[in-house]
């Protein structure tokens, strides 16, 4: 198993999903998990190899030759546009740069590798270097071929998956949690797109986290539909206590990175329309991203300041507190492969108004769905949830009931079925 984000290090849903699946798979199968950065965890039956803790026993560096030169030439063009989550952080730490340089020479050492895969930045502007390094190291670590299936999560691990497949001739499963076409739009044909496409072409099976994503893969990547299986993510049960807020206004919550993909422009348009028909409403925006400033500006320009609260990036605990008092959860994503947050909202008995272009829409019948651009319909739905209590209650109970069946155990069972199928062939 090849992962990238893994608790405690994650920036989005990938880390949560990888962890959830590995945990549910671990009683059913032995897993060797290679990730950039490992720390203490509660998983038994899983052999976790973190490159930040890589030792000379696990790898013979002498056998590996690194060549970053093709990438070094591009390093200045990489920057935010190619970074999957468009992090504002463009600083390349000098020590990391030096480490990459050193690895191309005879002075390479395990310390340099440990250094590169330490630190809090999961992606960063040198992400392509990391992906390359990860692929080379993983290939070496897995060269023994002592496993039956290779399972790689998202584009950052696909090159590693391909390398291992070529080296060991084991079947390759790619797990698509998100696509470059989700992040930058259907027209994306950049380096990341190419990595994804090549990976899926080489893979024996592709797992999509939703039927929606499966459709996207077929449409934008021209992958054979018979190769793609859908396995919905799960959600871990949580003890939930609702809290009543004392505000006279109703609260609509938006959670997520403020990037184009999450549809912040539709958030503002919708808020403007809801406020017209239901003035006692506040939209709470939790999350950060490159669209923060435009969002702030357009909400101010439309004189909606008093309808918005910008909460910034919130910890998991704070998110839970927020959901516990929210009245409506709103997810207007342009393209959302799954949308775990809508399920988390349902756990907190918060009814959702969500984009039809999402995986969550498939598993939550009891949610109100509109095309991501249809702000009239969004507003009509939010208005209805704020005004009609019976609807609010019906949907919050309904969605909460539905997600009881959306478990990682269920997902793990399906994944095991795919393993068995490949193993037998």
């Amino acid at each position: 198993m090849l992962g990238w984000e893994f608790p405690p290090l994650f920036s989005g849903g990938l880390g949560i999903a990888t962890y959830g699946l590995v945990k549910a798979l671990s009683p059913k199968t032995d897993i060797r998990l290679i990730i950039p950065q490992a720390s203490a965890n509660d998983l038994s039956n899983v052999n976790i190899i973190g490159l930040n803790q890589l030792t000379a026993q696990e790898i013979d560096l002498e056998r590996v030759a690194f060549n970053f030169s093709f990438l070094n030439a591009k390093v200045h063009q990489l920057s935010v546009s190619i970074s999957p989550y468009h992090y504002a952080n463009q600083l390349i730490e000098d020590s990391q740069r030096n480490a990459f340089d050193a690895l191309s020479t005879d002075q390479k050492s395990i310390d340099q590798i440990n250094n590169i895969f330490s630190g809090k930045e999961v992606y960063g502007s040198n992400v392509m270097h990391k992906v390359y390094l990860f692929s080379k190291l993983s290939e070496e670590i897995a060269a023994d071929g002592n496993f039956n299936v290779i399972h790689a999560h998202d584009w950052v691990t696909y090159p590693a998956g391909i390398n291992i497949k070529h080296r060991t001739h084991k079947p390759l499963v790619l797990h698509v949690h998100a696509l470059e076409t989700d992040r930058v739009g259907g027209h994306a044909r950049n380096e990341i797109y190419k990595v994804e496409r090549r990976g899926m072409e080489e893979a024996d099976k592709v797992i999509a986290v939703s039927h929606y994503t499966r459709q996207q893969i077929m449409e934008h990547y021209q992958i054979d539909e018979h190769k793609i299986e859908v396995v919905h993510n799960g959600i871990d049960p949580a003890g939930i206590v609702r809290t009543q807020h004392k505000l006279k206004d109703k609260l609509v919550v938006f959670l997520g990175r403020l990037t184009h993909q999450k549809g912040p422009q539709y958030l503002v348009e919708t808020a403007e329309k809801v406020a017209q028909v239901y003035p006692r409403v506040k939209f709470i925006v939790a999350g950060m991203g490159d669209q923060f400033a435009p969002l702030l500006e357009s909400s101010a320009y439309k004189k909606l300041g008093h309808h918005f609260i910008f909460a910034g990036f919130l910890s998991k605990a704070k998110v839970n507190e927020l959901l516990a008092l929210a009245d409506v959860y709103f997810m207007p994503s342009v393209s959302e492969p799954f949308g775990l947050t809508a399920l988390e909202a349902a756990q907190h008995f918060v009814p959702s108004v969500i984009s039809s272009q999402s995986g969550a829409a498939e598993v939550m019948k009891s949610s109100l769905k509109a095309d991501h651009w249809d702000t009239d319909k969004y507003a009509n739905y939010i208005h209805a949830l704020l005004r009609y209590n019976a609807l609010h209650q019906n949907l919050s109970l309904g969605a909460n009931h539905e997600i009881q069946h959306v478990t990682w155990e269920h997902a793990a069972e399906k994944v095991c079925g795919i393993y068995n199928q490949l193993y037998r062939n």
């Binding site: 329309k273 028909v277 239901y278 009239d376 507003a379 009509n380 209805a384 019976a390 609807l391 019906n394």
Partner: protein, 412 residues
Amino acid sequence: MPSVCFYFQVHQPFRLKPYDCFKIANDHDYEDEAKNREILDRVSKKCYLPTNHTMLNLIDKYQGDFKISYSLSGVLIEQLELYRPDVLKSFQALAETGCVEFLSETYHHSLSYLYSKEEFVRQVELHKAKIKKHFNQVPTVFRNTELIYNNDIANYISDLGYKGIICEGLDHILGYRSPNFIHYPPGNMKIKCLLKNYKLSDDIAFRFSNQGWDEWPLTAPKFANWAHQVAGNGETINLFMDYETFGEHQWPETGIFEFLQHIPGEIIKHPDFDFKTPSEVIRSYKARGEYDVNNLSSWADLERDLSAWLGNSLQHDAMERIYKLEKEVKESGDLNLINTWAKLTTSDHFYYMCTKYWNDGDVHKYFSHYNTPYDAYINYMNVLTDLEYVLEENKSEQSIKIRQLVDLVTAN
């Protein structure tokens, strides 16, 4: 001498137009005129006109030996008046033959009996007047919306002076007994219950074109043979169904019209059999057994209960909200407003909100123009919110007028 008694339900609601929150307090016109017209045109073409034509020919051919009955909802008749007077005329032509009986129901095809007796009686009276006007008949047999029924309803209808009531023949009430006899509610011999033979009715209405059914294809001789087996153990075979069975639910290609054309001849081939209308059945046969229904029942779905209209919290909420407005609406004295309000009591609006099976894309979805039951609820509630706004506006207008009047009086 057993009789076959046909009753066909003919109903189309006034559907609401897409009414989002931005229309509230701005737009007080709720109907989707284009859609209502379009659906009425389609059903007229596929069912009403060709079936009426067939019925008229059959009545003509058998010279009084073939008889049928209809229940036309008031809101359907109103739409025929507005959009399809030609179809209304074809029903009138049937009425003129003397072989067609028209039953009584609530004008608005509503569940008003359950929420307001006052409104229920008003709608029944409105309907009666409409039937008299167009068909020159005064109905003596009552059918409640979707055959919603229990002992209390039967007694109430009996007190209104009706001689008969139409209801579903429920297995769990009948037990080993046959639906093919007239029954009476416990302790009340003044009213007779006509029980639907749902097996034979559904053979036509639901199973006719089902190729997976081991009796498919159903022919008129085969069906008549089943009916004839009742001889000696039954007096009336009540075949009750939606009129849209002919041509709309069962398409012409299924052979439904050929089936219909041959049914009368095949039935009366047996010398003991004839056709009767509900009131003739009631006059001809005695009530043979007690039919004791305490819980509300209907003819809908497998459950035969009220869950299609009152099965979830949304439906209850919407239903309670509309009847809560009754007093205020009626006190306004505004006939337009009362009419608008009453159309919102039509049962279809609540049927669209049914969440029971919608995952399976079944019959409920077939009959709904909404994508989801939630959309149906939201649309309805937005309309209701606007109606409340209109009432509020009227009130303040009135109070201004009264104040002006008082000022005028005191100034003098």
